[in-house]
Subunit: 433 residues, 2 copies
């Protein structure tokens, strides 16, 4: 016998077993439903892009994260695996926008790959789930973006979440009013770490990285952590920055979307944001950080086309959210490893036609139903149902079939009733309620 | 200004725009729903596997198809992109089956990559959509597999399809009865081409490749193209091969599943099938070949584990099916590039709150609704709606808003009615019917 190959996954890559995939598919389906309900259309782009499309976007450090792909026959051009969905979307838009027309609203979901050192909760392959509106500068699209996020977390049945918004236009205005607008990039990178490292460390970093005095850094932080209700903060901003368009846009947003927080310390790392920026926090697990973030940018695809494509969008961190839901014992994570609620037990191969008929009746009523394939001992079939998480057992032996009845067993409460086949859908549905 | 990067896709790779993605997502969702309704559970495995897991499965030729992946920092081990979902499933099963237990029913959907020469309808990245039951030899699972395929094509709203079944056990029995069982592999590869190249060429190939006389090859083909109803063929087989288990299993199958055809010329190329094999044809487009195929195998994961894992399953050719549906003018391919049926027109930024309220009312009633972001000329908004494929326009200017009404416009028939806001859901739904 030849030696076995070890069936391992590569470092930083992982399998998803059913107990995790079932809630993960539910999250993705919820996002898909919400995005579509606002008129965002699905697109898909290849996993592999040419290296010149992928490289040079975020400097040498980020280029080192890009996996190289080549054919065994030595393809002429080397390719790379996409490291996010934004670069492929920019490339897609530059290639297709004339045909598609603007405004263009798309969502995309799929894996991305980064050759980083793997760690606790950090993988080399993970999913992104993005939506964007491009080809318009209208505040209506900013507002809609926040409405989408709000609807998404409502439909995800997360009871306590908070969307925090800010505006790059406002942050830049404030830095300008302090006379330090030229150091915006470094300052916003430091500010972005406030929740993680605290005020003192941020001040130290601003002094070191952006060449501020400690007093100036303190002023930046005082502004960024300005306290008050949304309208108190807006009024203060209005008086400091009377002409700032970001203030007007956020005021409109806050008038239409209830329950969100204006938080001037939200900075977002990426340099390409120019207008609204937002993050979404789970109030019962704030330490996990933002699970859905995004903002407005002036020009999506300037590397690939002269056509100016302003836009606004967001990205759901699917794997981070799933980890959070696990920690929060969210009701979607039932531990079940079968999508079927009902198991039809197998008491003999000769009854298979009958079992499939019973299963079909339940499927036609909208239930997911599994028929056990082998006529094993009932005890083994009960163990299987318990392991998989089925909630109802349908049991029919010779006697039941002869008398036109079935046993319907509540597998949680261990109660059973023998009912006529004509009634059994109602009984099964009652147990499932 | 720096030079623009050409926003191209690599040879053999492609973008999916909304008009194609919308029906493609519907196909995937239908497959997901059908697989789940039979109790198949989702799993996911990484795109990248170690090269020793991927290579050496189908000989040198197929090894050349495997894309190599390496990190820019020179990872220790080279990886490859999966070329199908079966090898990763075998690896997954070997790794996880002790924890998961058997029988284990899974589905998986995702892209696979093959470095082949691209051609008409042949891409280097394409999707597979597989389902399998492993850990049981029961005929109940063979029968269920065919029921799943039948349900799938019914739910895909394909009016005329045919599932053709055969059995490797029967084919081997027939070859044995002719005394040429030792040449089964070559013979079945030739037989598999019958529909494509015709009887004469298959005989030529059998003579050349399997060292048969032309008379023997003719006998093989006579058996493989045996005419008659399912039960006539079964009776003939029964008398030729009285002890053959494949005959018994197919007889059980045909008694339970109506409307499928026994076709002894179905051979399937792959050597690892041992029991039932099947293919699915679209009767209005037979030239496209099988769009869903599979069969039973004796041992899924013998390269990775000593645990014997027999199974049965099938694979839906998503991209081939999509191409076929396009050619057949299937009603799911509407050409619409928005998932929203309704467009709320924008007659002024000051009404945005009102528009979002109208949209939310319709969304809560289960409709997908887009709000146009800019107060552009109405003509431009109508053009947008026509291009995207919206079917209903909701139009509210100052006058309508003041009087608590909206205009509901049937964008196909170009008819409109002004109705009170309290009634407008019913009007919109009526137009959509």
């Amino acid at each position: 016998m030849s030696r076995l190959i070890e069936p391992r996954t590569m470092s930083g890559f992982r399998d998803y077993s059913p107990a995790v995939m079932i809630p993960r598919e539910r999250i993705l389906q919820t996002a898909r439903d919400v995005y579509r309900s606002f008129g965002f259309a699905p697109i898909d782009t290849p996993a592999c892009e040419s290296l010149d499309v992928l490289l040079g976007k975020g400097g040498d450090e980020s280029d080192k994260l890009v996996y190289r792909v080549r054919g065994a026959k030595q393809e002429k051009e080397e390719m790379g695996l996409r490291f996010d969905l934004t670069v492929p979307f920019a490339r897609f838009a530059a290639k297709n926008i004339n045909e598609l027309g603007t405004p263009f609203k798309r969502y995309a979901m799929g894996p991305v790959w980064r050759g980083e050192r793997p760690g606790q909760g950090r993988y080399r392959e993970f999913w992104q789930c993005d939506f964007d509106t491009i080809g318009t500068t209208s505040n209506a699209s900013d507002i809609e973006t926040i409405l989408v996020v709000n609807e998404l977390f409502t439909k995800l049945e997360i009871p306590r979440f908070e969307i925090r918004v800010n505006s790059r236009a406002i942050l830049n205005g404030l830095l300008q009013s302090l006379g330090i607008a030229d150091r915006a990039a470094a300052l916003l990178r430091s500010l972005d770490k406030l929740a993680k490292i605290g005020r003192e460390k941020v001040i130290e970093e601003m002094v070191a990285e952006a060449n501020l005095s400690a007093e100036q850094a303190g002023q930046v932080l005082d502004l960024a952590t300005m306290a008050g209700t949304n309208s108190e903060i807006l009024d203060q901003l209005q008086s400091r920055l009377p002409e700032n368009d970001g203030v007007r846009r956020l005021r409109e947003l806050l008038a239409i979307v209830p329950g969100i927080s204006l938080d001037l310390s939200i900075a977002r790392g990426l340099e390409y944001y120019t207008g609204i920026i937002f993050e979404t926090f789970l109030l019962d697990l704030p330490t996990i950080g933002s699970v859905c973030s995004g903002g407005r940018y002036d020009n999506l695809a300037s590397l690939y086309t002269k056509q100016v494509l302003p836009g606004v969008g967001g990205s759901l961190g699917v794997d981070r959210l799933l980890a959070a839901m696990e920690e929060l014992k969210h009701p979607w994570l039932t531990g079940a490893s079968s999508p079927a609620q009902v198991l039809v037990f197998n008491l003999g191969a000769e009854h298979l036609g009958e079992y499939q008929k019973l299963a079909k009746t339940l499927r036609d009523a909208g239930l997911a139903v599994e028929v056990f394939p082998d006529a094993k001992k009932l005890g083994q079939q009960f163990q299987y149902a318990e392991k998989r998480g089925h909630r109802v057992g349908v049991i029919a032996g010779e006697q039941e079939i002869a008398s036109g009845t079935v046993k319907v067993k509540d597998l949680t409460k261990k109660e059973e009733a023998t009912v006529p086949v004509v009634d059994f859908i109602a009984t099964v549905k009652r147990v499932l309620q």
